[in-house]
Every structure is written in structure tokens, then in C-alpha cells.
């Protein structure tokens, strides 16, 4: 069997035990959350009869292992249970909200990677220069501030004080209609429908959350790009290329190409982490994505919704790490799977 096929199959074989472990962990962790979901749902002044009825209806009076088995049975049929907060199946909620989160993440990460690579390369080109010093300072600042804080500052400056940004109340203006749904990502859907006003409005609303996300992440990518480029710049093969008179531009290309694997790993790792980290950005901007859904679900002790979100987020992260492992193995023949 050739190396790429072996790489993929080996990794996929590990997915099933990983997923089983994941479901058990997520299921138990959610049930360890403080609070009683039945009382949270009914309010503190519900009669005992109502509390007992609902507990029975939700199966929460069963032993924990029976509850887990019932959950797994549902999961195999794609049933993540019902959210009491939205009164909808959790799977429907996730399908509706996932595109909003992905749109934000893809744009944010895209800009972060682009900026990080660009500035990292320029910075590594002249270590100690002005750009390099500013890059280090920026990376320090970006890494030391929590993302939601950056978001709140941007809202305060650009919306409250300067009045140039739209209100942080979702993906479109309050009275604007969303485009016909194809992907759930408003930029794509509005273009496909030819609704340029909606496209512009969606882009306006994306600006601040995307800047928040990319500002926060670009710093790490910049630092990694810079340090990896500098490291490879001192490697033997680059020194040899320099000695034999290879043009600097070609040398830069070789350097960057060799620096890419750790940068790609970092970017994918960041993307996987962001699925969870984006929750607070969505909360600040009332984004209506999975992140906001998860926060509201935790606050309301909505077990099914919290479990559903964790399952999906963890599964996406798992998938991304698998892709990363496979890519790494394919790029670098020294890596064994």
C-alpha cells in the first residue's frame, strides 16, 4: 500500500475509539455541570409534581449508564436530543448555526494566516529592523489580551465612539432580511442570489468580529513564521545556496517552503482551538453562531444543547488534527504514522 493511503487509513482507524472516548467524556462532563437542568427549565417556583414529571420525561431519573446508552442510541441515528431553550432538535440548531461560525472562522483565519505569513516573512527578512520590532510588539500585545476584550474595545471605539461600525447585534442589520439559504453563509448566499445590498451589509457586520479574530491569531502565526524562517535561514542547505550564489529571491522561496509545515500545523491547531474560543467573540457580537448557542446553553443548563455542541466541536477538532497529521506525514517523509 502506498504511503498516502496508509497514512489516511491508519489515522481513520483510530477515529472510532477516539470518538467513543469523546462521547463518554463529554456526556459525563456535562452531567457534572452545577445546577439542576429540570429546575433551571421550570424555574425555582415549580411544583414538585411538575419537576418529577419533567425529570421522568427527560430520562434524568434513570441510572447514569442507562442515560448514556440511550444517548448513544440516539447519536447513532443522528439524534442529539432536543434543546429546551430553543424547543428544537439540537441537530437542527447546530445545522442552522454552524455556517455562521464557519464563515467567521474561515474569514478570520484566512486574514490571520495571510497577515501572519506576510509580516512574518518581511520581519524575518530584516531581523532587528523596524518592521521586526513592531511585529514582536504586536505579537506580544495580541497574545496578552483575551479575544473578547479586543472585541469589546473595537465595539467601543468603532461603534460607540466613532459610529462607523454597525451595531454588534448579529450578522445583518436589524430590519434586513437574510438571503435565500444555500450554505447558510451570508456572503456566499447573497452573491448567489444577486443580493448585493445584503452582501454589503453582511460584510459590514463581519468586519469587527473578523478583525477581532484575526488580530488575536495573526500574532501567533507571525511569530511562528518569523522564528521558523530565521531558523531555516541558518540551516546548512541555505548556507550552501548562499555560498554558491543562488539569488536571494529564490533562497527566500526555499526558506518559506521549508518553513510551511510547522506553520500549517500551527494554523490548523489554532483553527481547531478557535471552534471553542470563538464562543466569546460570538457572544460579544451576538453572532448567532454555535459559540453563542453554547454559552446560552451552559447558562440555561440545557444539557442536550451543551452536549451536542461539545460533540460537534470536538469532532471537528478531531477531524482537523487528523488532516494535520496526514498532511504532515505526506509532506515530511521522515514522519512515521
Amino acid at each position: 500500500m502506498d504511503r498516502p493511503a496508509r497514512a489516511v487509513l491508519t489515522r481513520i482507524a483510530l477515529v472510532i475509539p477516539q470518538l467513543i472516548g469523546l462521547t463518554a467524556l463529554v456526556f459525563l462532563l456535562v452531567r457534572l455541570l452545577p445546577g439542576d437542568p429540570v429546575i433551571s427549565r421550570l424555574g425555582g417556583v415549580a411544583p414538585q409534581e411538575s419537576i418529577d414529571n419533567l425529570r421522568h420525561k427527560l430520562g434524568l431519573d434513570l441510572p447514569i449508564h442507562v442515560q448514556y446508552l440511550n444517548y448513544m442510541k440516539g447519536l447513532l441515528h443522528g439524534d442529539l436530543g432536543d434543546s429546551w431553550r430553543t424547543a428544537q432538535p439540537v441537530m437542527e440548531d447546530i445545522k442552522m448555526r454552524l455556517p455562521a461560525t464557519l464563515e467567521l472562522l474561515i474569514l478570520g483565519m484566512g486574514i490571520a494566516v495571510f497577515l501572519g505569513l506576510l509580516v512574518g516573512v518581511i520581519s524575518a527578512g530584516k531581523p532587528g529592523g523596524l518592521v521586526d520590532r513592531l511585529t514582536i510588539l504586536y505579537a506580544l500585545l495580541a497574545g496578552s489580551m483575551p479575544e473578547f476584550y479586543i472585541g469589546l474595545i473595537l465595539v467601543f471605539v468603532f461603534y460607540v465612539t466613532l459610529g462607523v461600525a454597525p451595531a454588534p447585534a448579529g450578522r445583518l442589520g436589524i430590519a434586513m432580511l437574510p438571503p435565500p439559504r444555500l450554505t447558510g453563509m451570508y456572503l456566499i448566499d447573497s452573491v448567489m442570489a444577486g443580493q448585493w445590498d445584503t452582501f454589503r451589509d453582511a460584510l459590514r457586520h463581519l468586519a469587527l468580529p473578523v478583525i477581532t479574530l484575526s488580530f488575536w491569531q495573526a500574532g501567533a502565526i507571525m511569530k511562528m513564521t518569523r522564528s521558523t524562517m530565521l531558523q531555516i535561514d541558518e540551516s546548512d542547505f541555505i548556507n550552501y545556496a548562499r555560498l554558491v550564489g543562488v539569488k536571494p529571491s529564490i533562497m527566500r522561496r526555499y526558506t518559506l517552503r521549508n518553513a510551511l509545515p510547522p506553520i500549517i500545523s500551527l494554523a490548523i491547531t489554532i483553527f481547531a482551538i478557535l471552534i471553542g474560543a470563538v464562543v466569546l467573540i460570538e457572544q460579544v457580537f451576538s453572532w448567532g453562531g454555535l459559540g453563542q448557542y453554547s454559552v446560552q446553553s451552559v447558562i440555561s443548563a440545557d444539557y442536550e444543547a451543551v452536549t451536542g455542541f461539545l460533540m460537534i466541536a470536538a469532532s471537528i477538532s478531531l477531524l482537523l488534527f487528523i488532516v494535520m497529521d496526514v498532511l504532515y506525514a505526506l509532506i515530511d517523509p521522515r514522519v512515521k504514522l
Partner: protein, 575 residues
């Protein structure tokens, strides 16, 4: 490619991207507006009018911002305060209180409030009909004949009938939730107590005896008539789902002023005006209730004028609005039926002894809490049930005032322990201030107050399980504005809301007795007597009446206070 060329290309891309982003802010925005044309609600897309224009006409759409959207519109499935806010607008309550001045119910004047519900009446005094326009009461007070309002129509134009109410009562008892509870509180023991006399007449009977809170119970917006004609027409009542629970998750079938036109859970609810509403046409044909979890964002949007109304702001934010800010003003009442309390668990633990609870009553620095923690909002409370509930409130029943020496003396005399846990909700910053003030007071006589900060869900669960020593928590003095009912709810030995686990047979018997008496001097005397005991030993210590504050656009008028503190959008006008 050289580094320099790469950098140049990169910079050009950045410049173009920035220009693109900046340019999308230009040009007029298109919005959707709603009009009522020949009794039908129609929508059209027009160019938006900037919010900043002075002296602008009333916007077509009222924008209301809340931390969360409701979980549905089922009147028989409790869904929290935002559910209540949606329900009062799509269903109307069956009856309402007459709107009177603050003076008439014995409270100070509010700010920007057009009137308050006459909650201090007895029996059906001060009650006006909505779903039922008139009624007759039998001489023994146990049977009420109610007449459905002629001209009361749903969004689809169906006239309300007795069947709409009867079905609703049957549904409440079938689902055994909020609706059943409310009916039972009013003295209706089962669906057999409600009869249809003819298409427009209903008879309701309270078999255990006359209920002094029958009419006030109908003012609580959880019992509503439902347009079952429309539900049947749409095939929403099936064998698998005879009560239409799935339908109510997504929309309403009410006779109220508004109708749910669009519901995206976690995002927004769009309401449109009921073109057949019996009170007439509203100022706002469309209302959008939008989920904006961050209070700082809600605050900013109301100040900017992009939203018109919001609640659930922090005290600091409310304080900033006191003198007005931007387009926003702070409206409200200093005195309502929402109270801040300290519950002390009376069955086990440090406060099981009466002396220890009484010491707590004297240790609380009431004025400091009002001034420092609550920034002067509301007022210090001196009664068990808010005074606005009328002559049945005993204004002299509270034995406590701030007296640290007496607190120390009682604590020692009771041989009370050297420490106790004080639980409070982590999300409410002023409650931490209160906890710290209490800790300071108790430290003066050597008692360690352990601050137990918990998530809201944990506080609620622990309250229900009586798993606490003392807890800071707010409560409403019951939406049914009756002292006897309030006493039953929070102090009766069989009540699920008796969080402090105080089980006193004699007092409970007196409360039961009061709930089967018609209003009058005898009932008043009994309730006055009960309140003395409640405050002396009952485990629920009133601290503040927190009042009611809402942030609204300065052009909005027509705010009225109802006992649930939920705003009716139909009332609102724009000037």
C-alpha cells in the same frame, strides 16, 4: 519573487481590501417595513431612514433587545421572563387591572410611567375585562359566569368563543404545568369546574369555597384564550399531538395585539400587529425582539438610537442613564412588587434557631445596601409583601432595623455558630457587594460569613433542595397581587417556594383559612396577624423593594406598569 515585490503585492491587497470594507458602509441600506392595508399585514422593502435624524416620525419597527429569545410560545410550558414578555403581547391576559395613578396604590411617582395597575383592589374591584368583557358573581362567591368579548378576533380574523377558553383549560390540566398551577391557585380543581353555557358564555366554579384571588388570578398572563379554529384549520391538533405542543414551539394562536411572524431561536422574533385587535391599530406595526447577550451592547444600541427598548442592564448602566444619555432615558418605578430578600434556612443549620434568624434581621445594614450596593434604586422594604397590594399589607409587622449590638446579643443568646455560608448568584455584581457588607457586619461580633458565589442554576437548584445556610435572592411578591396568596407561596409549609423550609402548622392553617375568605375586614385582620409571625420567624427577610427600571428611547411613551412588569407594545406611542 523577491521579498520586496512580495511585500508590495501584499500591501496592495491590504489597501484594496480596506477600501472594499470601507466602501460597503456607503450607500443607503434597504430595510423591510410593515403596513396594514385593508386589514392585511403587508411587507415591503424600502430605503432605510438613518436613525440619527432629529424629529423623525415614528419608526415602523420597534426594536427590543433582550439577553435571550424565548424558547417558544406555549402558554402551558414555562419559559422564563422573555417568554413572559412575548406572551403578554401575543395573547393578552384574560383580565387586566385598571390603570390608575401611583398615588392611588400608595407608591411614589415613577419616571415616564403613564399609569400603574390597580393591584390594591379586593375581589373584582379595579379589574377590567379583556378576553371576557363582563361577568356575574353568584351570591356565595363560588360561581362566576363570564361573557366572551364580542369583536375579540385573532390575527386570522376568527371571533373568540367559549370553546377557545374551554379548550385552554382542558389543555392546562392535561399538561400539568404552569396553566394548571394558576387555575388551581384560583380555586379551580379540575376541568369539570369549567363549563360552557353557550358559544360566548363560560361558567367557572370554585368548589372548595369562594376564592378571594379569582379575578386577580385571571390577570396573570399565563391563562389565555387560544384560537383553536385556526389550529384545527391548519391541522395542528393531531392524534399524536392533540394539544398542539409542536405548533406552540414556533408560533402563537392568540387574540392579543401582536402575532409571531418569524421566529429564529437564539436570534430574533418578529411580531406583526394583529389587524383585528379589538383595541385598535398600534403605533408599531412590527416589533423585533432581538437576542443580544451582552448588556454593554444593548446599552450602546439604545443610547445610539438603533434599538428602542431594553431591560436587564446592570445597575451601573442604569445609573448612567438616570439623567439621559444620547437617545436613551431611564424610566420606571421606585416601588413595585419585586423584592430583594435574604433567605435563611430554618429547618437545619445555623438559622434553625429563631434567635439566629432574628440576629440576622438586626445585622443587615439596610440603608447601606440601598445606598451603596443598589445606588439608591428602589427603596428599603419594611413589610413582608409590598405595600402596593393594599390594606391587607401590615406596614408595622417588621420588627427589625439595623442594630448591630442587638444582633450580637441575640447571636450570643442563641448560642449560634461561629460561621455560616452566604450563597449568591455570581453574575449579579451588586449581590457580591451586599455579601461583603454582611460579612463586615458579622465580623464585628466574631462571626465568619463564608461567601459562597455560585452560578444561577446552582443557586436555583440549592434553593429548591434547601441546601444553603443563607442566600441573597430576589423574588416577585407573586404576580397574583394578593397578600394571602403571597404568604401562601413563600411561607406555607406545603409550598414548593418555601425555600427557607419553615414549616409552621398554625401559620399555614391561618393562610389556608384566608384563601377561602371573601375580601373584607375579617380577612384583613387575619392576614395582618399572619405577617407578624412571618417576619419574626419565617426565614425570608425583606431587604429592598428593587423597583422597576427600563432603558428606552426618549421619544417612546405609553409605559404602564403591570403586575408582571412586562411591557405591552400596543400601549407605546412615539412623540
Amino acid at each position: 519573487m523577491s521579498t520586496g515585490r512580495l511585500a508590495k503585492w501584499g500591501l496592495w491587497v491590504l489597501v484594496l481590501l480596506s477600501l472594499a470594507l470601507a466602501s460597503v458602509g456607503c450607500g443607503p441600506e434597504k430595510v423591510v417595513v410593515t403596513e396594514i392595508v385593508e386589514g392585511q399585514v403587508v411587507e415591503k422593502i424600502v430605503t432605510a431612514t438613518p436613525a440619527s435624524e432629529e424629529a423623525s416620525p415614528a419608526p415602523d419597527t420597534l426594536v427590543v433587545l433582550l439577553p435571550a429569545t424565548p424558547p417558544g410560545f406555549d402558554p402551558d410550558v414555562w419559559g422564563g421572563k422573555f417568554w413572559e414578555m412575548a406572551l403578554v403581547n401575543v395573547y393578552d391576559s384574560v383580565m387586566d387591572y385598571e390603570m390608575v395613578s401611583e398615588e392611588e396604590i400608595g407608591i411614589p411617582k415613577g419616571t415616564g410611567i403613564g399609569g400603574v395597575a390597580k393591584v390594591n383592589g379586593m375581589g373584582d374591584e379595579g379589574i377590567v375585562g379583556n378576553f371576557f368583557e363582563s361577568w356575574e358573581i353568584s351570591p356565595d362567591g363560588q360561581t362566576v359566569t363570564l361573557h366572551v368579548r364580542n369583536g375579540l378576533k385573532s390575527y386570522w380574523g376568527h371571533q373568540a368563543t367559549a370553546d377557545d377558553w374551554l379548550w385552554r383549560v382542558q389543555r392546562a390540566f392535561a399538561l400539568k404545568d404552569v396553566g394548571q398551577f394558576q387555575l388551581q391557585v384560583m380555586g379551580i380543581t379540575g376541568p369539570e369546574d369549567v363549563k360552557k353555557i353557550d358559544d360566548m358564555t363560560i361558567e367557572m366554579h370554585t368548589p372548595r369555597g369562594p376564592s378571594p384571588i379569582f379575578f386577580k388570578g385571571l390577570c396573570v398572563p399565563v391563562l389565555f384564550g387560544v384560537d383553536i379554529d385556526e389550529m384545527k384549520k391548519e391541522g395542528l391538533l393531531t392524534e399524536e399531538d392533540p394539544w398542539g405542543t409542536e405548533a406552540f414551539k414556533k408560533g402563537d394562536f392568540g387574540f392579543g395585539a401582536d402575532h409571531v411572524a418569524e421566529f429564529v431561536p437564539g436570534s430574533h422574533v418578529k411580531f406583526v400587529a394583529n389587524p383585528y385587535y379589538w383595541k385598535g391599530e398600534p403605533t408599531f406595526k412590527t416589533v423585533i425582539m432581538r437576542e443580544v447577550p451582552e448588556s454593554s451592547n444593548r446599552f450602546a444600541m439604545v443610547v445610539n438610537g438603533e434599538a428602542h427598548l431594553t431591560e436587564e442592564l446592570s445597575l451601573v448602566q442604569k445609573n448612567e442613564l438616570r439623567a439621559g444619555l444620547g437617545e436613551a432615558v431611564l424610566l420606571g418605578l421606585p416601588d413595585t412588587n419585586f423584592m430583594l430578600n435574604i433567605f435563611a434556612q430554618r429547618s437545619t443549620g445555623p438559622f434553625a434557631k429563631k434567635e439566629c434568624f432574628q440576629a440576622l434581621g438586626y445585622a443587615v445594614p439596610y440603608e447601606d445596601i440601598h445606598r451603596l450596593a443598589y445606588m439608591g434604586f428602589g427603596r428599603v422594604m419594611h413589610e413582608a409583601i409590598p405595600r402596593m397590594f393594599g390594606p391587607n399589607v401590615n406596614l408595622d409587622a417588621l420588627p427589625y432595623s439595623y442594630d448591630p449590638d442587638k444582633a450580637a446579643e441575640l447571636w450570643k443568646a442563641g448560642n449560634c455558630p461561629s460561621s455560616f455560608r452566604l450563597m449568591y448568584d455570581a453574575v449579579i455584581p451588586e449581590w457580591e457587594d451586599i455579601a461583603i457588607l454582611l460579612r463586615t457586619e458579622f465580623a464585628k461580633f466574631g462571626v465568619d460569613v463564608i461567601l459562597d458565589k455560585q452560578a444561577e442554576g446552582t443557586v436555583t437548584a440549592n434553593l429548591s433542595k434547601h441546601d444553603f445556610d443563607a442566600v441573597i435572592e430576589w423574588s416577585s411578591a407573586a404576580f397574583v397581587a394578593d397578600v394571602g396568596y403571597g404568604a401562601w407561596l413563600y411561607w406555607h409549609k406545603d409550598s414548593f417556594a418555601n425555600f427557607q423550609a419553615w414549616y409552621d402548622d398554625e401559620t399555614s392553617a391561618k393562610i389556608d383559612q384566608s384563601m377561602l375568605m371573601l375580601p373584607g375586614p375579617e380577612r384583613t385582620a387575619l392576614l395582618h396577624e399572619v405577617q407578624v409571625k412571618l417576619l419574626a420567624e419565617g426565614g425570608k427577610l425583606p431587604v429592598l423593594n428593587t423597583g422597576w427600571q427600563i432603558a428606552a428611547n426618549k421619544h417612546l411613551h405609553g409605559f404602564y406598569w403591570y403586575s408582571t412588569q412586562k411591557i405591552r407594545w400596543f400601549d407605546l406611542t412615539w412623540e
